[in-house]
Amino acid sequence: MSRPLDIGIGQIKGLLLKMGKISVDATRQALDGFYKHEDNYAEVKMWSNTVQMLAEEVEDRATELIALNQPMASDLRILKAYIKIAYDLERYGRYAMDISEIRHRIGQWSDIDDDRLTLKELGEAALKVMEMSLKMIETMDETMIFELSKIEASTDDMYFENLKNLSKCKGDPVAIVANLLTIRYLERLADHGSYIAESISYAATGKRISIR
């Protein structure tokens, strides 16, 4: 027999996965627009706002479950983790919006022809971290944190490498600014993926692991 708390926790998990799916799709769409110089800000912003609304819904439902059921042990850890994860997923959506906003705000630019820049690879790695973090929410498999942290570390490396190379770049200043902002947002997206992994690890084991 399911406890009412199980039903509530399951519903929140469903909301988180929905937020995550929208955020990943929005990030992919924002990057696609960036690469193709297309302004898709309005649509990505709409998805970001949807994720934000869902985050508020998660917070409300989790608070209500805590107040009404006074959960303990793994139940309490899961709800604490879910509240934190809702914020991280909200940030996913916001960074997707920020990426799409670059093209919308600063207009067109000429692509930089420099083989040292690896923005697309960084984008794929950040998306990989995001997808893995969603898999962790779905499966509660805390062991994935180690693989995720390796990929997240690679995004840090790529970010600093791109930062260095962009600082020496002689291309279109608008393009340099657009690329700088985007690599920063991608690095932050991956950071939030690692925070989600830490939250799942805590919820599953009760032990706090930091991979930052």
């Binding site: 406890r3 708390l5 006074q70 959960p71 303990m72 042990a73 793994s74 139940d75 309490l76 850890r77 009760g206 032990k207």
Partner: protein, 267 residues
């Protein structure tokens, strides 16, 4: 400005508190029923320690081991030691009346004596011969103050104790326990018959009492244990399954059985 944040600050770890009550290989039988099995725990001084577990797990029996209340059950027998301040209270030569002066007890239902508020408090000091009559007024006042009841009853001390509300009656019983100046206060589900407001007052009182006394609480209410205690023991069928810092027990219990019990996945 620098802040030093360490594990002691983040989590309650009563390492520095002294052991007040120690159970050493303590076993208790009621006739053939083995009610407490190989109990080995130390209750620290000046904190609230909670015993929790399902009905019949032995938590009240364990509590009554601290003031030898199990002695009054004819079929009860025990082995092992219960040390209070290092002295085995199960040993021969222990005067249980003296012991119970040091260990006050509050029961599930308020049980004031059928006498005035004043006499309820004065009765025990007179019985135990710990006070002269002229000292009684002070003892009554101090005990009622200690139980956070003085301001509510100071103008009607001659009224019957039964004229008080349930929550006030329970605090009167706590005041009665304090009147003989004990070291330890045992509370056996002290709020189970009280409404939420009275419960909050008793819980606030527990937090104050631990400054002067060692408080041991039996409760069915997990949230109450989480709110008021620093250490918690989870018991099941006569055994201590897990004993540790309350925050650890309720956030990240070591034992699967504890986890199942406190998350309601039991049975």
């Amino acid at each position: 400005m620098s802040y030093q944040i360490n594990e002691e600050l983040l989590r309650f770890r009563p390492k520095m508190a002294q052991d007040k009550v120690i159970f050493n290989d303590f076993n208790l039988w009621y006739g053939e029923k083995h009610a407490l099995i190989d109990i080995n725990i130390a209750v620290k001084s000046n904190i609230v320690t909670a015993f929790m577990g399902p009905s019949g797990c032995g938590k009240s029996s364990l509590l009554r081991g601290i003031n030898r209340m199990n002695d009054i059950i004819p079929v009860a027998r025990s082995t092992g030691e219960v040390l209070i301040d290092g002295k085995n209270i199960m040993g021969s030569g222990i005067n249980v009346y003296d012991l119970r002066k040091r260990v006050g007890m509050v029961f599930q239902r308020p049980n004031p004596f059928p006498m005035s508020i004043y006499d309820n408090i004065a009765y025990a000091p007179l019985l135990h011969d710990v006070a002269e009559e002229e000292e009684l007024d002070k003892i009554v006042e101090n005990s009622l103050r200690g139980a956070a009841l003085w301001d509510e009853v100071k103008d009607r001390l001659d009224d019957s104790a039964f004229s008080l509300s349930g929550g006030q009656q329970q605090r009167l019983c706590i005041a009665r326990a304090l009147s003989i100046n004990p070291d330890i206060i045992l509370m056996d589900e002290p709020c189970s018959a009280l409404d939420p407001i009275a419960t909050i007052k008793i819980e606030a009182l527990m937090r104050e009492l631990k400054e002067k006394y060692t408080v041991v609480l039996v409760t069915h209410n997990l949230q109450q244990a989480a709110r008021v205690s620093e250490m918690t023991a989870f018991m099941y069928i006569g055994e201590i399954i897990e004993f540790g810092a309350t925050r650890d027990i309720f956030e990240n219990p070591r034992e699967e059985l504890t986890e199942k019990y406190i998350t309601g996945r039991f049975g």
